[in-house]
Amino acid sequence: MTTQTALQTPVNRYGKWYKVGVLVLLVALYAWAVSGIPFTGIQSTAGEVARSILYGMFHPDWGFVYQPGGEDLLRGLLDTLSIAFLGTSVAAILAVPFAFWSAQNLHKYKTVSGSGKAILSLIRTFPEVVVALLFIKAVGPGSFAGVLALGLHFVGMLGKWFAEAMESIDLGPMEALTASGANRLQALWFAVVPQVMPHFTSLTLYGFEISVRSATILGIIGAGGIGTPLIFALQSRSWSRVGIILLGIIVMVTLIDYLSGFLRKKLV
């Protein structure tokens, strides 16, 4: 009864002030946000540069696609793909034990899975670019730093997804195996692994899609891949080269998305 009378009172009155309050808050928030962005330093050449970039996009430097001697678009893209592929693969392997650790339904105590999840979320919180910068400091610039950075970051991502996939499985078979005298490892291997394998594969493919995107920018900070020639082209203002690299990235990412989406659909 009490709830009914509470709900009966017209929400309008209260709602009006509520709305005004939210509005005032929003205005204040935006005023504050805008105050932090300096608009004075905008280049006077902005329009011109934008036009040149657009021009470059529509007149790409086709010659850069393949150059027999050296750094060209195809090799840059190949490097990028290699970094992403290796990074994701390593991460997928490392993520499996983490997933078993942090899947809640496989442990009696919540602290076990909780600690695993905490570690994974700590790893994920580091943006991969920051990780890459640190790795560059540690092992020097180049693709290898990129692989390490992506590998580490994606352990965090895949570990979480794997654990979630594992939490959604049917525990009946595991009970059945335990009942028939299997030890823990056997039970996991015969009851859990077959159930989660397709999920893991699909999630890894999805992770690969994302890591390809990440890998394209690693070169900007020196961790190999197509980002390196891109940042050179930007700095030397050769817009038609920027154009062809952008095109290359768009085409590659779209193709990978499409391919991986196709494979994932076949898996489930």
Partner: protein, 287 residues
């Protein structure tokens, strides 16, 4: 045979049935007129076949027929949620078939619709759902800002009162039971100020008791305000209990049209193409 009942001199719905509350000036003209209406779906299915039908103000028409007979198609052609492929439908003398844009919306404004699954916005309050029936009366800007005039709010509350759920006005629609939700959608049609109410299996997802309440609401509104009402029903006994006139469809064709008294078991057997089944009865007395 039975389909030609209106040729008989005895029955005249205009005199007998719609005295109740129909407004002046509407007495003479038919409320809904189907002029040799046919509908073929894009995939070739025949939905309606040469329907010739006149509904007078204040009638309570129940449409019966097997699943797939074309009941929904018939009802939805009236407010043009479905397009017909041949013929013409007149609402209170105006062709809805030819109407476009604003005139179409104005015609629709006069026709309330009640759906099997209520079609309420679940997250909005009951009042807002009812008020949404009023949008076609006001300018776009006004309605987008939610500035309904006070009369509209009162109208909406009154409509809720008529279906006995005024106390739920400020409750979110998803907190209501199915029967209550259906009454909200009846209130929406009432607040809309509709001259016609179309109800497509309004009780199909309700239990027998709630079914009775909702049907009683529809009947009462029909009698009090003289709103022309057309209802699709699955249950023969419900049709007999509430209808003043029964229309039978089979494979898109009109196979029966007569007053409820003429709808004998034989007539139903003809509509269904077989004797009445147990599950076509709601069977409120037994089991």
């Amino acid at each position: 045979m039975a389909a030609k009942w209106y040729k008989l001199p005895l029955y005249n719905f205009r005199r007998e049935r719609c005295y109740c509350g129909a407004k002046k000036g509407r007495f003479d003209g038919p409320m809904i007129e189907f002029q040799s209406v046919s509908k073929v779906y894009p995939n070739g299915t025949v939905g309606l076949k040469d329907i010739q039908l006149t509904i007078y103000p204040g009638e309570f028409v129940v449409i019966v027929g097997l699943s797939g007979a074309g009941k929904s198609t018939l009802l939805r052609s009236i407010n043009r949620l479905h397009e017909i492929t041949h013929g013409e439908i007149l609402i209170d003398g105006k062709s809805i078939t030819a109407a476009r844009g604003k005139p179409l919306r104005m015609l629709r404004r006069d026709i309330g619709m009640i759906f099997q699954n209520f079609n309420l916005v679940k997250r909005s309050t009951v009042l807002r759902n009812v008020l949404s029936g009023r949008v076609a009366y006001h300018s776009t800007l006004r309605t987008l800002l939610g500035l309904f005039p006070r009369e509209d709010v009162e109208l909406a509350l009154k409509a809720l009162e008529r279906v006995n759920i005024r106390d739920k006005a400020f409750v979110r629609a998803d907190q209501l039971s199915g029967g209550q939700q259906q009454r909200v959608s009846i209130a929406r049609a009432l607040a809309q100020g509709a001259k016609i109410i179309l109800a497509d299996e309004p009780v199909a997802s309700l239990d027998p008791l709630t079914t009775k309440q909702v049907m009683d609401d529809l009947k009462r509104i029909n009698q009090e305000s003289g709103i022309t009402t057309m209802v699709n029903l699955h249950f023969v006994d419900l049709a007999r209990e509430y209808a003043t006139r029964i229309i039978g469809l089979r494979a898109g064709q009109l196979v029966f049209d007569g007053p409820v008294e003429a709808a004998t078991d034989e007539a139903f057997a003809e509509i269904y193409g077989r004797p009445i089944d147990k599950d076509e009865l709601l069977g409120r007395n037994g089991a």
